[in-house]
């Protein structure tokens, strides 16, 4: 990745691009473009789009992604490494030509940061494990060759060789390749830096491959030589020697399946119920199939095929055999455990840290949930937890009710939020101890005189709604020439004078006028900024109640609030985000 210093952008139109993409100029274009933070090519033909992508592909060691929604994007999508098509207004041409498609542009973030990252992680773990288990399985024959005159005699029963990769070890690694997650999707979006290992090819490269292979070879060494050393002189408790070929085969096969199962158990980081079923089920399947094949029933049907009759039953009843298997398992797994623990302890990656904190938080949340059941404040507490633990994807609203002044002032003082808008800044700099007092003061001081700035722009009231209201909307003072004071008095004037601070029932949840109602509501009840409920439009009633001078403004106000409500609603009027 280039180190881009400075904040430059390149804007180039189609005409100029036609010249810039000529053979003698394209290197220059590439250098310039890569020195900028962003490049905008406008008015380009589809062919030029593809040429730009190909320019990057040819000269830069990078993976390119092209996203587009129209038929004119098809050539670009096709020429990039990854093509993403957006299905929607412009038809499905782009979708048909792309590798991935979805309906909205914003889904690209999830595609990359969540699904792309998980896919890379799963693929690397799957590959590593696959090489490991096959090397562990096959290299045993290599070591056995030294002791059987290199005659290619197999160590295992032929049916075990057939079924090993199909039945005994395929399901657990399949489950890991489908379900594994190192961090949840919310954290993936929260920490985009987690995407780096994918770009730097850190999880599966030559070094990792070599480590996988050596682990497989080491395992095969242990799996052959430990049974060799133990069984060559051992006997059953009925004195028959254990050094016969069939006992050796059963012992080694059992040790192998157990060791690779323990290894996949160590590799799997996300144990769903399916993982459990597959891992333990595969082990159970191994034992049941082996006992079935070594049974007398199958032998009587075909003696030459199933000549291992009685081996499993006889071998697996010997304590020496199980001691051998346990010894082999420990010798194989303990170094792996030690290495992984040391790596995690001394050099944790970002994903390890995120995973750890995530699990710590989960534990704390469980503890709080259990202990915070009772109490008035418990309601508020559980609300905040509800927000914290809310599943991504579905928006929930939290409601907290208390009979005393709650957090409204804290929120509206702006002390715990980023002040991204002018109005909010000015609002927060008021230094008023109580917002209610401020409100009352203003009301009393402004009621006799009509507001000079008659353009009721209840602009930045969304301050209490979200910390970062969309700047253009909140800068509407500049658009409409109003001021913060005017906004407040405007809303005040609109409501019936006797109870200026009374929350309108029903309208408190109105979308049409989130600013006024939420501001007012916050003082009376700590009704958090709410997004639920439909737009209970009470504007006409308010209009009627207010004074005559507001009638003309009311229409403007109405239009504005409708326009703004769309923006406010969409700018996640949730609580301060984590």
């Amino acid at each position: 990745m280039d180190n881009i210093s400075g904040e430059f952008a390149l804007v180039i139109s189609g005409h100029s691009l036609a010249h810039a993409l000529e053979a003698d100029m394209e290197a220059e274009l590439l250098m310039t473009a890569c020195a900028c933070k962003a490049v905008i090519c406008c008015r380009v033909t589809p062919m030029q789009k593809a040429l730009v992508v190909e320019l990057i592909k040819k000269h830069k060691k990078a993976v390119t992604l092209a996203i587009g929604d129209g038929a004119n994007d098809v050539s670009m999508i096709k020429s990039a490494h990854i093509g993403v098509g957006i299905s929607g207004q412009e038809g499905i041409q782009a979708v048909l030509a792309s590798d991935y498609s979805f309906a909205q542009f914003r889904f690209l973030q999830r595609l990359l940061l969540v699904h792309g990252r998980w896919s890379y992680l799963r693929m690397c773990r799957f590959l590593c494990y696959f090489f490991y288990k096959n090397f562990a399985f096959t290299m045993v024959h290599f070591w056995f060759g030294f002791f059987c005159g290199f005659s290619a005699q197999t160590v295992y029963d032929q049916y075990f060789i057939t079924l090993y990769n199909i039945l005994y070890t395929s399901l657990p690694v399949l489950a890991m390749g489908i379900f594994d997650q190192d961090v949840p999707d919310r954290r993936s979006l929260e920490y985009p830096k987690l995407y780096e290992p994918g770009q730097l090819n850190l999880l599966f490269n030559k070094r990792e491959f070599f480590i996988c292979i050596s682990q497989g070879i080491y395992t095969s060494l242990v799996l052959f030589f430990v049974p060799y050393a133990v069984l060559s002189n051992a006997s059953q408790d009925t004195a028959e020697p254990l050094a016969d070929y069939q006992t050796f085969a059963v012992t080694t096969a059992t040790a192998l399946v157990i060791v690779v199962s323990v290894q996949i158990a160590l590799d799997t980081g996300y144990w769903t119920i399916i993982n459990h079923v597959f891992v333990w089920g595969s082990l159970g399947l191994f034992f049941s199939i082996m006992l079935a094949m070594h049974s007398q029933t199958l032998f009587s049907s075909s003696p030459n095929q199933f000549h291992f009759v009685g081996s499993a039953q006889s071998t697996l009843l010997q304590p020496v055999v199980w001691l051998t298997i346990a010894l082999a398992t420990v010798i194989c797994i303990v170094p792996v455990l030690a290495f992984r623990f040391l790596k995690l302890d001394l050099k944790p990656q970002l994903s390890d840290t995120v995973r750890y904190t995530q699990l710590v938080r989960q534990k704390k949340r469980k503890a709080v949930c259990f202990s915070g059941g009772a109490g008035v404040r418990g309601a508020a507490g559980s609300t905040s937890e509800g927000r914290l633990g809310a599943r991504g994807g579905s928006r929930r609203s939290g409601y907290a009710f208390a009979h005393q002044e709650g957090f409204g002032e804290l929120i509206t003082s702006g002390k715990n939020m980023r002040l991204s808008s002018l109005a909010l800044a000015s609002f927060a700099s008021r230094h008023s101890s109580s917002w209610i007092d401020t409100l009352r003061k203003k009301k009393h001081s402004h009621t006799p005189t009509p507001p000079g700035a008659a353009s009721g722009d209840s602009s930045p009231a969304p301050s209490c709604v979200s910390g970062s209201a969309a700047p253009p909307l909140s800068n509407s003072p500049s658009v409409l020439g109003g001021s913060q004071d005017a906004a407040i008095e405007e809303e005040e004037a609109r409501t019936p004078p006797p109870s200026p601070l009374q929350a309108k029932p029903g309208s408190s949840t109105s979308h049409a006028r989130p600013p006024s109602t939420t501001l007012l509501a916050a003082s009376e009840s700590t009704q958090g900024p709410s997004t639920g409920g439909g737009p209970g439009d009470t504007a006409p009633s308010a209009q009627g109640e207010s004074g005559g001078w507001t009638l003309s403004l009311g229409a403007v106000q109405e239009a504005l609030s409708n326009w703004r409500s769309l923006g406010v609603r969409s700018s996640s009027p949730g609580p301060p985000s984590l």
């Binding site: 929607g88 309906a103 973030q109 005159g149 005659s151 290619a152 379900f179 919310r186 929260e190 920490y191 430990v226 060799y228 050393a229 133990v230 069984l231 060559s232 002189n233 051992a234 006997s235 059953q236 408790d237 004195a239 028959e240 020697p241 254990l242 050094a243 016969d244 070929y245 006992t247 085969a249 769903t272 119920i273 993982n275 075909s302 003696p303 030459n304 000549h307 009759v309 009685g310 006889s314 020496v320 001691l323 420990v330 303990v334 455990l337 030690a338 992984r340 995690l344 302890d345 001394l346 944790p348 970002l350 995120v354 995973r355 750890y356 904190t357 994807g393 928006r395 969309a470 969409s570």
Partner: protein
């Protein structure tokens, strides 16, 4: 700053396909399985789980290893090589003068001494070295359905037995290289009483094979017909045998394919140096040791040639415990692995304390 607060026109944009009459949404199901939200257990290798595991393994393995080592040391074993390679060995003449069609069997006797008495059942093994019973062509060379008593296979052995399938235009029973190379030395033990008499030690020849082998895998053809000579009519003996299979033993239950020495030999060994159970010395009573310490003689009828491939033959006497025969490796391996585990746990604990990352206050850089 959370990057997920994007502006969106609608809640979660979905494409609806209007088919004939119905509006079908292409939005994927919001189930836990399809949205990868399945409840799951997420283990982490923390110091609190790994280090205790190491210590537990260490503390578990060391006593087991000590128990195994002590048990193994209490098992008594005696081994004597009787190949006869040196001229000073009693069996040298027999090994040198071996010929395939000699009518008179060659015998030799070896004296040996037992330092300690052997109690309970004593098991007599014969051991072979440099004998590759695990060679692939050798292992394949048998016909299990013939050995199971199938009459068709008796008359026409399988191709795997070639070239030991037919001799004198008659099918060989039992066919194959494994049967052909059956061990046919005879070993006898004599105790030299202090007052000079030779007492033969009674050896049991039954109960040396696996139960499934004796009763399921190996069956004589012709059902329970006791007249095995007629059953095996029309077949010839294996090339290297002195007697046909129907004359292996006078006891009809130990004759033919179900002869236990034959069964023991047919269970091929996995390694080039192996031992097979030959006879059992039954224990007499609790007061008298089965084999008291003293001088003994081993009488060998030397029928089995091993000099040609530099093989070696030996006789082994051994007692048995719950873990089988003498096996010092297992005990030592357990002690070693347990000690290494424990040491590793200590080392990791030290490293963790000195250099480990403190995950308590997780500060995640962004």
């Amino acid at each position: 700053m959370m990057a997920s607060s994007y502006n969106a026109k609608e809640e979660d944009g979905h494409i609806t396909v209007s088919g004939p009459g119905t509006l079908k949404s292409k939005k994927p199901d919001n189930t836990a399985f399809k949205q990868q939200r399945l409840p799951a257990w997420q283990p982490i290798l923390t110091a609190g789980t790994v280090l205790p595991a190491f210590f537990v393994i260490g503390l578990l393995f060391i006593p087991i290893g000590i128990g195994l080592y002590v048990t193994s040391n209490n098992i008594k074993e005696f081994e004597i090589d009787y190949t006869g390679t040196e001229p000073s060995s009693p069996c040298y003449n027999c090994s040198v003068n071996f010929s395939w069609n000699s009518s008179r069997p060659c015998s030799c006797s070896l004296p040996f001494t037992l330092e300690q008495p052997f109690e309970s059942n004593v098991f007599v093994y014969y051991g072979l070295s440099n004998f590759y019973q695990n060679h692939r062509r050798y292992v394949k060379s048998r016909d299990d359905s013939q050995l199971n008593g199938n009459v068709d296979s008796l008359k026409s052995p399988s191709k795997e037995c070639e070239p030991y399938a037919h001799s004198d235009d008659k099918p060989i029973a039992p066919c194959g290289a494994i049967a052909n190379s059956m061990f046919n030395d005879t070993l006898e033990l004599f105790f030299m009483d202090p007052n000079g008499t030779r007492i033969q030690i009674p050896l049991t020849k039954r109960g040396i094979a696996w139960w499934t082998d004796k009763h399921v895998k190996f069956r004589n053809p012709g059902g329970d017909n006791p007249n095995l000579t007629s059953v095996f009519q029309g077949t010839s003996k294996p090339v290297n045998w002195h007697r046909p299979v129907s004359e292996l033993d006078s006891d009809p239950e130990n004759n033919g394919f179900v002869n236990e020495d034959f069964i023991v030999w047919m269970r091929t060994a996995a390694l080039p140096t192996f031992r097979k159970l030959y006879r059992i010395v039954q224990k007499k009573s609790h007061l008298v040791p089965t084999l008291p310490s003293g001088n003994y003689t081993l009488e060998v009828v030397y029928n089995y040639p091993v000099r040609s491939f530099d093989g070696r033959k030996r006789m082994i006497l051994s007692t048995i415990s719950w873990m089988g025969g003498k096996n010092p490796f297992l005990g030592l391996a357990y002690i070693t692995v347990g000690a290494v585990c424990f040491l590793l746990g200590v080392v990791l604990l030290v490293i963790h304390h000195k250099y480990g990352s403190r995950n308590n206050s997780a500060d995640i850089p962004n």
